[in-house]
């Protein structure tokens, strides 16, 4: 009896939360959409005090930093996963796995410190930059942060390939590299893919570390592949400006709209990740 009441109560509480959150996101960003329409999505100028709210620089910056993080992290993480699951002994495997779990526990603000006081000076001196604040710095830092996520999921996927498949491949006389590329990786791909999508969601929403190293300059990289200049991402903009925007102002509403866009992108990402998994399994 009390059990049922308790279950219902938590269900009600959770569903209120579920409706309240998107509801308030929409209603708080509504004045902004009402005033600006969809124009900000393609606008390049962000000057809140002059009523200019172009989101393109932040969108481009977000895309670049996430893409860069994946390009750096995925090959390394998958290789490391192959190494631990196929080449290392059980003891080493446990050790590496343990290390990865420990690393994924390092809070983002600490990565931010490393970025700020180790990575930026290094970038500054090696590329002869003014400050080192750049999309490249954000990408490198994010790749460090998502590496454990991809690696742990890829390792699970690879070591989860059925023994029969492995034995069949070995009986066919395939050598090690053929077994890897023709059997193991294709079989493990859905899991690896889910790991990559999960990691891109994480990189997308990462705030503090990115905010400390990206430079927070609303400029579209010029030329588009110039990653060495200060830039802006959606999260770094929210983090930088939410403190100074007055509640109820159009600026505040614009920042909530940025959060709303973030939420939509991440929902799409996790839908893609999980749908694919379910179909394959």
């Amino acid at each position: 009896m009390w059990l049922n009441v308790a279950m219902r109560l938590s269900l009600i509480l959770a569903s209120i939360g579920l409706f309240v959150m998107p509801g308030f996101l929409i209603s708080a960003s509504f004045p902004f959409w009402q005033e600006q329409g969809l124009k900000p999505l393609v606008g390049a100028e962000w000057f809140p005090y002059e009523g200019l709210f172009g989101m393109l620089p932040a969108l481009v910056g977000t895309l670049w930093s996430v893409g860069l993080a994946l390009v750096i992290a995925v090959p390394m993480a998958v290789a490391a996963a192959i190494m631990t699951s196929e080449m290392a002994g059980k003891k080493q495997r446990n050790l590496i796995r343990f290390g990865m779990e420990l690393l994924s526990g390092i809070p983002s603000v600490v990565y931010g410190l490393i970025g700020l006081w180790l990575l930026l000076p290094w970038l500054q001196s090696s590329f002869n930059l003014l400050s080192g604040h750049s999309l490249l710095a954000a990408g490198i830092l994010l790749s460090l942060m998502v590496l454990p996520t991809i690696m742990v999921m890829a390792e699970d996927a690879i070591s989860g390939v059925a023994l029969e498949q492995r034995e069949a491949a070995a009986n066919l006389g395939l050598d090690w590299s053929d077994r890897l590329f023709l059997v193991l990786l294709p079989q493990a791909w859905p899991g690896i893919r889910a790991g990559i999508l999960l990691a891109s969601g994480r990189a997308l929403g990462e705030t503090i570390a990115v905010m400390l190293v990206v430079g927070s300059m609303d400029r579209i990289p010029d030329p588009l592949y110039n990653l060495l200049e200060p830039a802006q991402t959606l999260t770094s903009r929210i983090g930088r400006e939410i403190g100074e925007a007055a509640f109820g102002s159009i600026h505040f509403s614009a920042l909530i709209a940025c959060g709303f866009i973030l939420a939509i992108i991440s929902v799409i990402l996790s839908l893609v990740a999980h749908t694919n998994q379910r179909v394959r399994v």
């Binding site: 279950m7 938590s10 996101l25 809070p107 983002s108 705030t207 400390l212 909530i256 996790s270």
Partner: protein, 284 residues
């Protein structure tokens, strides 16, 4: 050249690619620890007297307790709701409801914490007039860790042998009895693991509490649930903003290793419990 097969070169390639994946993160951890130890001063922990670091006359203790208050509060709020949801999922939900719950929880897990922070800012801080407060931070962190706790509990219960649950049901045991006599004895290590991971997660989140619960300094002990706190996470952030000053840097590194120590203690405990659960399962 022909002495080495293709497989050999593939192995070499993989090792070369994998090496940085091990070396760089390990190097980072090492660097943090070295910096932290280098800057470590016991006076940072002395209560009263020492005015060296930004008016923090009581050392770093307010930050540590602030982090712990936020973390414990978040878990205390999330745990009952998570347990209720997981039990509903297992005991009363229809198949369609189960799938819906699972999908929604996974979506929730994918939404960036800063978005929860924004929602909390609008609803709790401004609309409900809680202001920048401990309670707002706790509620937001509770929402952030809720999906993790629910999914963990659901998976733990699903790992219980279905035959046992069916047997218990056919013996006419009530739901309460099934939970107490069948599920709890077998799942408690997994449940505890989930709780520890939730605690670790709550400690490592910075963005959602930065503008809803914490201030830089001036708070030693929050007077009520509606007053702001200081926390290790946000303290590190503010010090990083402070920049050049060596004192600030040292303090930031020391705060960082304290935070990492807290978090890894929790996650190591979780890993050990998980191992224990594995051996526990093998007994049957």
């Amino acid at each position: 050249m022909s002495r080495f097969s293709r497989s050999f070169w593939t192995r070499v390639l993989i090792l070369v690619l994998a090496a940085p994946a091990i070396i760089f993160p390990a190097g980072c951890l090492f660097y943090i620890i070295m910096q932290g130890i280098g800057a470590w001063e016991w006076s940072m922990f002395s209560i009263g007297g020492n005015q060296k670091s930004f008016g923090m006359s009581s050392g770093i203790w307010p930050q540590i307790t602030g982090s712990l208050i936020l973390m414990l509060g978040a878990n205390m709020l999330a745990l009952p709701v998570a347990t209720g949801l997981a039990l509903y999922h297992q005991l009363s939900a229809t198949t369609r409801q189960r799938i819906l719950m699972q999908v929604l929880l996974q979506l929730m897990q994918g939404i960036p914490p800063i978005v929860y922070g924004l929602c909390g800012l609008v609803v709790l801080v401004y609309m409900m007039h809680w202001g920048v407060s401990v309670l707002a931070g706790q509620v937001i962190l509770a929402v952030v860790i809720l999906p993790l706790l629910v999914l963990n509990t659901v998976h733990a219960i699903e790992r219980v042998d279905r035959g046992r649950t069916e047997a218990a049901k056919s013996l006419g045991l009530s739901h309460t009895a099934i939970i107490r006599r069948v599920w709890l004895p077998e799942t408690w290590p997994a449940l505890l693991t989930g709780l520890l991971l939730g605690m670790a997660r709550a400690l490592s989140e910075t963005a959602p509490i930065l503008f809803t619960a914490t201030v830089f300094s001036g708070v030693v002990w929050p007077d009520s649930l509606f007053s702001p706190v200081t926390s290790l996470q946000s303290h590190i952030f503010y010090l990083a903003q402070e920049g050049g000053n060596d004192q600030a840097r040292g303090m930031a590194w020391v705060s960082a290793i304290i935070l990492i120590t807290l978090i890894s203690t929790l996650s190591i405990a979780a890993t050990m419990l998980r191992r224990m659960e594995v051996t526990h399962e093998h007994r049957f």
